[in-house]
Every structure is written in C-alpha cells, then in structure tokens.
Symmetry: C3
Subunit: 269 residues, 3 copies
C-alpha cells in the first residue's frame, strides 16, 4: 500500500522552475574542502554562490542573500564567529538558513558549536547523515563524515528533533528522509558514486538553501534539492567510468535537468 506524500512531483518541478526563473544568491559559510565544488554545483543549477564567511561581512551579507548555508566541515575560530553572525543576520532579516553539522557527534568542539547555533536561532532546515542528526538530537555520533547509523533508524529521532526545533530535518542516505515532525517524505534516487565524491552532502545543503530562497515551504525546498541532485546523479552515472567522470557529468546534468524530467524521474513516497 502506497502512502501519498505531502510533497508532490509537481511541487518539485515547480521549485526547480522557480529557481531557474529567479536565481537566488546563496551565502555559503562552508568548509575549505568543498567550497569550490559547492559553488560549481550551485552555478550548474543556475543559482549564484557567495562564500562570505568572515566575521566582518557575514551578518551584513545574510540580509542581502536569498538563503544561507552554515556547514561545520572545517571550523576555525574566525569562521565560527562568522557563522554566529550570519545566523543572527539571517534571523533578523528572515533569510532562510540551513545547518549542516558535519561530523557532529564525532568531534567535541563542532558538536558544541552546532548546539549553540540551534539555541540562538531556528534553522529552516537541518541536513545531515543519520549519525549527525542523532548527535543534534543529543544522541551518539559517528566517525567524521561517514554515517554509522542507518537513515531509517534516525527517522523517529528526526521527527522529534523537527518538532523540538520547528525545523525541517533532512537525513541523507541510500534513501533520503525529510520530515517536518509530522509528514515524512522518502526519496530514493542516486548512485553509490555520490559517496565517492567529496562534498556531495555539503553541496546538497547549499542546494537546500538555494531552494529555500525561492519556495516558502521548507519541506518542498529540502525535497527539491535532494531530488534534483540525485536525479541528476542517476543520469550522470550512465555515462561515467568512475567517480572522476561522474562528478563532471553531475555538473553537466544539473545544468541540463528540466523541471518536467525531474517530476518524471524522481522516486518519491
């Protein structure tokens, strides 16, 4: 028996159409490993990246940006200060923002930074793998960017976290789960090679910030970002020999993907 999702195929196609029509400016405070790749993913899709991650400009820019990404992949004292300021700026001006607590649970400092950010303001979306979401809910974490817990096991915890934080929670894995605390959307496109290219999860967080800038419903924004990336990945995998050519094709497919194709190819429930 199939349960009808609260997010429809047409919602996803409309979101992609909206992004292409009014390219959002996405402020990324992200890690040094994935910064270039993240910018290229945003540009390939049609969004405008701006990596403004210093404490002197981060708050000011969060009021101009359409969406903000806070990614804890490689935190430093100066960039963490910028993150607090960007979150303050986003909150004050109503800019949607996404928290990606990379390796939360596995490392002490960044876990504490992530919890502080959650206390200061309400992220529109929290994105992570199962271990990271468990860590944000107060549980045990994983080892670095790898997830040692299954996404399915994290869904109950994610729903509780969504209700507590009043945020949409997106749990990445072979099947992606997105919840606002009551509804759960499941998306199951994608390819194993997504785990063999650095920064794919980081770029997904940036895409969520991009979609949140153009669609008011955070469930749709998170689902559209996930669907766009993974449906493009399906196409990219078909003409790739390994993770190198796959990453290149993924950028091509993101730029070629049409809203109608997205609606047709997405595996949603």
């Amino acid at each position: 028996m199939s349960v009808t999702s609260s997010v429809t195929r047409q919602d996803l196609a409309d979101a992609l159409g909206a992004l292409r029509e009014a390219p959002p400016l996405v402020q990324c405070l992200t890690n040094t490993v994935a910064a270039g790749w993240t910018a290229n993913v945003l540009l390939a899709l049609g969004a405008a990246p701006a990596m403004v991650d210093n404490p002197r400009e981060a708050r000011e820019f969060a009021a101009i940006a359409g969406g903000v990404l806070i990614n804890l992949g490689t935190p430093y004292d100066e960039t963490v200060r910028a993150m607090h300021l960007a979150v303050a700026g986003a909150s004050r001006s109503g800019t949607p923002w996404v928290l990606d607590p990379v390796a939360a649970g596995a490392l002490g400092w960044r876990t504490s930074v992530a919890h502080h950010l959650l206390r200061e303001a309400r992220p529109t979306i929290i994105r992570g793998n199962a271990s990271e979401i468990l860590a944000m809910a107060g549980g045990d974490g994983g080892r670095g960017v790898d997830s040692v817990h299954s996404p399915e096991a994290a869904v109950a915890v994610a729903k509780a976290l969504a209700n507590k934080q009043r945020s949409v929670i997106a749990v990445s894995g072979p099947t992606d789960h997105i919840t606002d605390g009551s509804q759960v959307v499941r998306l199951s496109n994608g390819h194993l090679w997504l785990t063999r290219v650095t920064g794919v999860g980081c770029a997904l967080g940036a895409l969520m910030a991009a979609f949140a800038a153009v669609v008011p419903d955070a469930m749709i924004a998170a689902a559209a970002a996930t669907a766009t990336l993974t449906v493009a990945a399906d196409a990219a995998a078909r003409h790739s020999r390994g993770p190198g050519s796959f990453a290149v094709s993924l950028l091509d497919e993101l730029s070629l993907l049409r809203p109608a194709d997205l609606a047709e190819r997405v595996s949603i429930s």
Copy 2:
C-alpha cells in the same frame, strides 16, 4: 569603420610564446573557493603557481615571484595582513601585481581593504567586473561576484581610474575592455559557460599576473591573459555538454593552445 588597436594579434602570440619559454612563478593570495582551480589554470597554461598567503612569508616570496595576484574573494584577518605585506614586497622589488577586488562595492570591509591597498602602492593591473571597477573608482557596487552594471558603461570610469592610479584597468564581461587611460582594447571571445564555472574571473586575474611577469607592457599582459582564456573557452565549448565538461576541456585547451592559434582566433578591436 574599424579602429586599429594598440595591441596587435602578434603581441598576444608573442606573449604566449614568452610565457611558455620561461614559465613564471606566480604568487597567489586568493580565495579558498578558487585556489585549486586557479592553480590548475596556471599549470595548464605552463606557469608555476605558489599560493603563499600567510603574513610570515608573503613579503619574502613577493620578491622571488615573477608576478603577484591579490584577490579579495574570501578575505580573513590573517590573509589580509599577508596581502598588505605581499604588496609591500612586490612594490619594493618591482614585481608586477594584479588587484582583483572581488565583490568590492557590495561589501564594506573588502571595499575598504581594496582602497587601502590602492593607496599603499600602484597595482600593475586592476581586474574586475563593471560593478567592482565602479566601486574602486568610488562609485556604487554590485551584489557579490555578479555584475549589475554593463562593462561598456564602466569604460569611461575605467579610463579615469587608470589615469588616476597609473594602472591598467581590465573590465570583464561579454566583451572585455582593457584600458591604460588613453587606449581601449576590446576582446570578445568566450562563452556563456564561463559564468557557470566558479573562479573563472579569479583565474583570469592570476593569468594576468603570469603574463605581466613575462611581458613588460601591462596592456599586452592583460589582453594576452584575457585572449588566452577566452579563445581556449571557445574551443572548449565545442566539445562540452555543460559547465562540468566545459571546465575540464578549458584546462585541456589552455595546455594545447599555440601562439599562432591565439593570433588567428582572437576577436580584438
């Protein structure tokens, strides 16, 4: 009626030949997003990149380097200190340097850093989009790396800035304009995909520093860098499916481009 440019096709071919014959060492103080890509663009063309951007080594290295790039894409306290020191080192030793004031006008701190750098020393070349050049001349800025002003509208301002700073000013756009305050060179190769790959403008600034290291005339250096990148882009676009494969092909074409091809294919006036 066609106006003869002060920079000839043969000047551009000679500049590329000179760079290939004596690969210059280019010190880049650039942003974390474009650093890897910029190094690959320099290497593909045949130059040697060195990203020495800490305050303890930046001045010392600017005396060894053939050219220096100062790019304000992701400024931090420590790297901005290094930029001041690198500019001091370059000035003292006569090393040509390029200022790329990314997002000047759109953000307060970096605009002020860029103006300070201009007061301390005379850059060989200032490179930016129309908004950034307007901001350096004291006018209104743009939104991040996007240009909201046409390059053409910025030419008059660029000429005035060139005369005031005694620098060559390069204004990037669909048509690139390069001026020393009296002459204006117009270059119109390139492809829309250049705007869909992060750091292309940043890499162009690095190429200008590379050419300035091997040819004494800064107009020729700025024009040769622009022509090389955009002529290679024309070739790259012909066997690409999107921005991912285009970026890869651009590196290939930069390494394959021969001086004679550059002279033949460049659209200059």
Copy 3:
C-alpha cells in the same frame, strides 16, 4: 644487472587489497589549494578522508584516525598549531603520520615549522621533492613546489635523513626513490601531466598516510601509494587530451585499479 628490491610486486598488490578491504580513515591537515582534490583521490581509491585541521579537534581526532597527513602547503598560525597537536596525538596513540614539507627550504617560516615537527616526534614517512628533502636534511631548498634538484642527487641525503630520523623518506620525481636508510626502492611509472595538475604530490602524501594505516611496513606503504598513483596515471594518460581530462581520468583509474593490475604494471627496482 638488476638488484632485487626489498619491496615486491606482491607486497604492493597486497597493500592495495588491504586498503580496499578495510578503508582507513585519514586525517589530513593540508593546504587550502589541494584539500578538495586530496579528498577526492582518497575517496576514489576507497579510503575515507577527514580534514580535521583546527587546534580544538586535531589531537582528539589523531587518536581515532588510521593515519595522519601533515602538509605545509599553506600554513597559517591556527593550522600550524593544529599540526603540532595532531602530531602529539598521533605519537601518543601510535597513529602513523606523514610529513610533506611543501616548499621547505624556499621559505623560512615553514622550514622552521617542519624542523620543529621533526624534533617533537618521528614521522612514519617524510615525502617531498629533492629540494624539500635536502632542506629537511639541513641543505639548500628550492623555489616553491618546484624541485630544482634531481631526485637521484637527493638519494644519498635521503638515506642519511632516514637513518637520523628513523623515518622512511620518499623523494618524488620522474623516478621516485623510497628509502629506510639501507634499502632504496625505485619506482618509475607516471606521466608528465602529473606535474601539470595541482596537488598531485600533496595527494600522494595522503595516500601514504592511507596505506600506512593498513600495512605495518612503512617502506611498503610509501611504495604502494606511489605505485598506485603512478600506475593509475599511466592508464589515465592513455585517454586524456590534456591536464584537465587527465585529472578526471586519474580519479576513475584509481577507483578501477585492481591489485593484480598494480603488481603487473608497476615498474619497480
């Protein structure tokens, strides 16, 4: 007359098999230019990268990691503090670590940092070009990442350094030399394009940390990393047009390379 190497083809194949069977977690404290590329090289081969390079988490993580890379390409005050802490953590917990003293000899501060690190603890492997190895042994250095000394000339110095530090020394060049102070292994696969892609040497250091995590013999680890990268490069060069497509193919070939192919294709003496 051919001298039999202390490291056999089968040793290399077994090391690659071991890495694929138990993917090691590799902590990289590396430069901002090569960080993304290094992570992709590790992922392509099957290892798990974690770029934990801040002073608040570096020591803690070095106890969890299977191997640690310390690369001095773009040192900053904060990341250099993290390097000292990571080395302390690795030493205490017995985690193998690799020192890559990029541009040692050419620049004062980083040379002094590298010498300090050597006094604090014994790296499992020191990797560099001939100039960098000479600088670590107290001699004259090179210009940036370029090597101005031949690897062959550095072998005698490398043997002395290996004996003094009780580390394995790997000298990169057209022929790669690896020594523990008595034995010298020579590897001569690879392609000129390896010098036209940024961060290849940096990624090689990371691969050495990955292999050191899975094989106890540091000579085999250093040789397996070198052989894997350069044998994959041979294959990549065959279907590439230039350095752009070569870098992409190199990632593909790293993921496709089988232990038996490595044993068959490696040129070792």
